[in-house]
Symmetry: C2
Subunit: 630 residues, 2 copies
């Protein structure tokens, strides 16, 4: 028998069961038009997934239940499997709130088909609680329920039996993480197969990150092969956020044959459907393979940033963007991306020169704006900074106890920060409000990692679009934009060659000085602190340095290390400087930073959680330092 | 036999096992000097508890292990029970990282005494994953371990057997949440008692919140009584933070007799010890009862804010504070608190008048500074705001595509926000850096709930000290400061009587207009959205309003509701206005807000997690609205 399965790769709007229900109805109609037997819909397709503590609102949950009932009503002549929150009013979660499950419902001809543990829904067993995921905060796992009701998980995981065209088939239905078997002691897909499943369905709401699709294809392919049955993966598109992080959902719904072959996949970031026809006799999918291509860096970065920014702005109702344009690479790439996303008429670029800005960067800014054909203004900040300095130093501070007067003195760093805040908080924030819409944060991940930015100056705005990109990725994105998006030199070539500089003091002007970060080394050093699954610490760095494997471990060139640090003492001083900032004061800045569009496997925010602490150096570190300095 | 038990109510420094070890050694010496038999130390007393993803650093964990070994070495002639992270290098957590447990170690004469599941430590079973807690993110629970190793939790929970003065006693050792039995299906203290424990020890790292001690006393008393054995609770002091929230730890270590009586407790927020002598024959504690008093509001609020702010500033190395002083209640209370905490010489108050500020509030600011005997300056913002407006409106915006020029227009709201940012980002941020130290965020919880504040204007600074206080709590704290702390009218009486106003426009001056929030009602309405364990939504409000129980449900006066809303339509319009802000744009502001000193059972930040979404109104809400408007 041939069974037609359709994955509804829908755009889920988080927190809007009413809106999502409308889309689901459309998909049901499409599936019926196409005479599908089974329609798969993603995990949490009614409520959305990353909705914070909205899970605690009963009236919201009631609506999720209401719309689920309407989906069941609409399942005449179609089997629909969809993810939703399930709750039981006679039970409590461990926090004393309503018992909730991350669940999937299967229905057909107006009725629910079955579930686990006597329920009419299946329950997610593997609750992810790492990165941005907080599943245990809200949901009771199948494992906990089994413990509570004295049952065994591997027995509870029974395939659903459904009848299609008079024939009974057994479906192993699972939810997202249940398919990510690597580190859970119970393998859900294998258990479902052992219990008789003839096909596996994975309903997901799985965010994109660089390299994840490759990993998923490998893992799911292995699972299908190990279980000896086909597997269909249904994922959503759209953006969802956890406050500090904005994640894109790339869809990429896929079907794998029983031998592990990927036979078809849906286009990335596309609101679409994936159709496949399963032959229950052979256990294989029939028809031609149709696999959507997966882009490589920097194309993948461009696509994710473009899609994520566009959708996030739409969701926030932001139609126009103002960008402070320094003439450096970060603001240039941000500006070019926004013009690409919103159109030149909806972007305002402002160059805000002080006495320290070079003709070079001012010209670059002008030329970029001209090449982009967008709105441009030059608003100098010298006068206002001078007034601020004057006010601060000339105003008497009166000691109301003694009656004595004193005056404030401004150090160089205070003067630099005055300029950054004059640009960000005084001009750009107000100009963006007057222009309509919001303004952009142009900080990259290296700057954010060490706090090389000014509170309420440049680390502010509605979204840090390139906040999860290292400097070398920013450059590569710039090259990609010129070559493939604009297909001409829109971003002036000079930007790629001048040394980055903050231009906040005479020591920081282009030509005479530059950023304290040597990106060819620090990009990789800092990435090891943040992104390595087993976090790198200063002791690791010194151990690798001593063993002569530092460049290899970090993935940077041997040459840049040797050129930058002539002695172990220099490397150690540099390491301590940045580690102290990374683990210390920069945390305070990140706490108040804008949301970051997240594309790596570790972005600052809910994905990489931090407390304000003093930087810690381990015993091993001090020992290695002593040895290296001897 | 008499057994002397000492609780080391130590100040844990999060993320510093080296420093904590030093304190523990001192406590071990104290215990030995006092000839104690057992020394109890808090949960996670070496690493600290709220340390974010620092748990992922192996060299940090190695040091926690190293110092634990040194504690064991120091246990000659003393039984020490302490909380620490335990890890197993041959196993993984579900995130693929090292297997870690929230554990407690018991040692005596240089050796470990035993633990659960064949380990040499006991393992926390009930992992809290609500409010600010992320235990499942880092730790494997006893329940999961039992599932993995095919064991039964209730059998794994065996008391530790130790020998004191030749006699064997059975101790039921548990970690913090294991004692909060209400909503877990397995009752750990009861199970330990069933399995033969003669006494219960609860090692905690339990943050303070208003009313929690009363609840804990009731619960732990019930447990001791139900189990029929005494219970000793050891908690730490200090502050720890999760980035967005700063929590105080109040200690309040306590001993309960087998009949549930609280017999002794240690002073709140005091680095101290609690001594108690347990008679193993009678099962009771001997000696006189010594119970430290628990303060009521507003004294409890004053103590928590003072302690929390002092410790947090110390931890961040901040010794001086600058505060923008408007003449309103929030900045006045904040200023008075900082003078109380840091001394008048370390505080700088700045009044920043525009054309809209009344003589009334300017005089109040001056008088308050005078009464506090602190540093005071007046820095007007009219000129700089005028320059900003001039620059923004006179600078041509060039459309680089068409060559056309245009100009920005500034709405009233844009002009108001320019003033707020001129104060916060242009003056206060720079002045505080020049004065040394940081500046304060003076926002209260009502403002933060609806985003009645300006990005990079007033919702910025190092700490929102009163950010978890509703307006009526701010007033009560002000009264308390005058009456009990300063014992004279330091905060001018006028502040308590004038209507709060932002003074950012001629419509908002004192006398002619005030805040849009009617705090006598909105404090309670907004609290129901945020703090009710079962979150209140607009449908609940309309349901209660229709039933005539709204005032009772919210805890405000009937009169204020009737006076404020003459028709259902007025109440509904007001409700929708604030709900849209609470669930909508204010989230964006909170994402970039400073850390909040958290004292309620629900503070914004990691305690109340939020995604940027559009505000949702439920089906029931629309139905009730329709009925009420008919």
């Amino acid at each position: 028998m041939l069974i037609k399965i359709i994955c509804g790769q829908m755009n889920i709007i988080p927190g809007r069961p009413d809106e999502n229900y409308k889309r689901i109805l459309e998909l049901i109609n499409t599936a019926k038009d196409k005479q599908a037997d089974i329609l798969l819909l993603p995990e949490m397709c009614l409520p959305g997934y990353l909705i914070g503590d909205l899970w605690e609102q009963q009236t919201f949950l009631d609506d999720c239940h209401y719309y689920a009932e309407r989906i069941i009503d609409a399942s005449q002549d179609l089997c629909i499997m969809f993810g939703n929150v399930a709750f039981e009013k006679n039970k409590l979660n461990e926090d004393g709130r309503l018992r909730k499950y991350n669940a999937a419902f299967a229905c057909q001809n107006g009725k629910l088909i079955g579930g686990y543990m006597g329920r009419s829904f299946i329950i997610k067993n593997s609750l992810p609680n790492y990165r941005e995921f907080d599943d245990y905060r809200y949901f009771y796992s199948l494992q906990k329920l089994c413990a509570e009701e004295n049952a065994v998980v591997s027995e509870a995981l029974q395939p659903l039996q459904l009848t299609i065209k008079g024939q009974t088939i057994k479906v192993g239905l699972m939810i997202c993480e249940d398919g990510w078997t690597e580190n859970y002691h119970l393998n859900v897909p294998q258990t479902l197969a052992n219990n008789g499943a003839e096909i596996l369905f994975n309903l997901s709401c799985s965010p994109y990150s660089l390299g994840k699709n490759k990993k998923r294809n490998k893992l799911f392919s292995t699972q299908a092969k190990a279980a000896g049955i086909p597997l269909v993966y249904c994922n959503n598109v759209g953006v969802q956020n956890n406050g500090k992080n904005v994640f894109t959902y790339d869809g990429c719904s896929s079907a794998y044959n029983a031998d592990g072959t990927l036979v078809s996949s849906a286009e990335m970031y596309s609101t679409t459907i994936l159709e496949c026809i399963w032959d229950t006799e052979t256990g294989c999918f029939v028809g031609e393979n149709s696999i959507a291509p997966l882009p490589q860096e920097p194309e993948s970065i461009y696509k994710s940033l473009r899609y994520g920014t566009k959708k996030f702005l739409e969701q926030c109702g932001i139609r126009k963007m103002t960008i402070g344009l320094s003439g450096g690479i970060d603001s240039a790439i941000t500006a070019a991306m926004y013009v690409d996303i919103l159109g030149p008429e909806n972007v305002l670029l402002i160059n805000l020169p002080s006495d320290y800005n070079s003709e070079t960067t001012k010209n670059i800014a002008y030329n970029l704006a001209k090449n982009l054909g967008t709105n441009y203004a030059v608003i100098p900040i010298s006068l206002s900074c001078w007034i601020t300095e004057e006010q601060l130093t000339s105003t008497p501070i009166l000691d109301m106890g003694t009656g004595e007067e004193s005056h404030l003195l401004l150090s160089n760093i205070v003067k630099e920060n005055i300029q950054a805040r004059d640009r960000g908080a005084r001009i750009i924030a107000a100009a963006s409000a007057a222009f309509g819409g919001a303004f952009s944060c142009n900080s990259n991940k290296a700057e954010i990692t060490v706090g090389y930015c000014t509170f309420y100056g440049d680390i502010c705005g509605a979204l840090a679009m390139i906040g999860d990109l290292w400097k070398h990725q920013v450059y590569a994105l710039g090259r990609y934009l010129n070559e493939h998006v604009f297909q001409k030199e829109v971003i002036p070539e000079e930007i790629f060659t001048i040394r980055p500089s903050a231009e906040l003091a005479s020591s920081q002007t282009v030509g005479t000085g530059g950023d304290p970060l040597i990106y060819e080394y620090h990009d990789y050093l800092l990435a090891s602190f943040v992104e390595n699954w087993h976090k790198t610490t200063p002791a690791d760095i010194l151990r690798w340095y001593k063993a002569g494997t530092l460049a290899k471990e970090l993935g940077c060139s041997e040459e840049i290390i040797n050129k930058t640090f002539l002695t172990p003492g220099e490397l150690i001083a540099d390491l301590e400087r940045w580690w102290k900032l990374f683990a210390g004061f920069s945390v305070a800045k990140r706490i108040q930073a804008p949301p970051i569009l997240s594309i790596t496997k570790r972005a600052f925010g809910y994905d990489h959680r931090e407390s304000q602490l003093t930087a810690y150096f381990s015993r091993e570190y001090y020992q290695l330092k002593k040895e290296l300095l001897q």
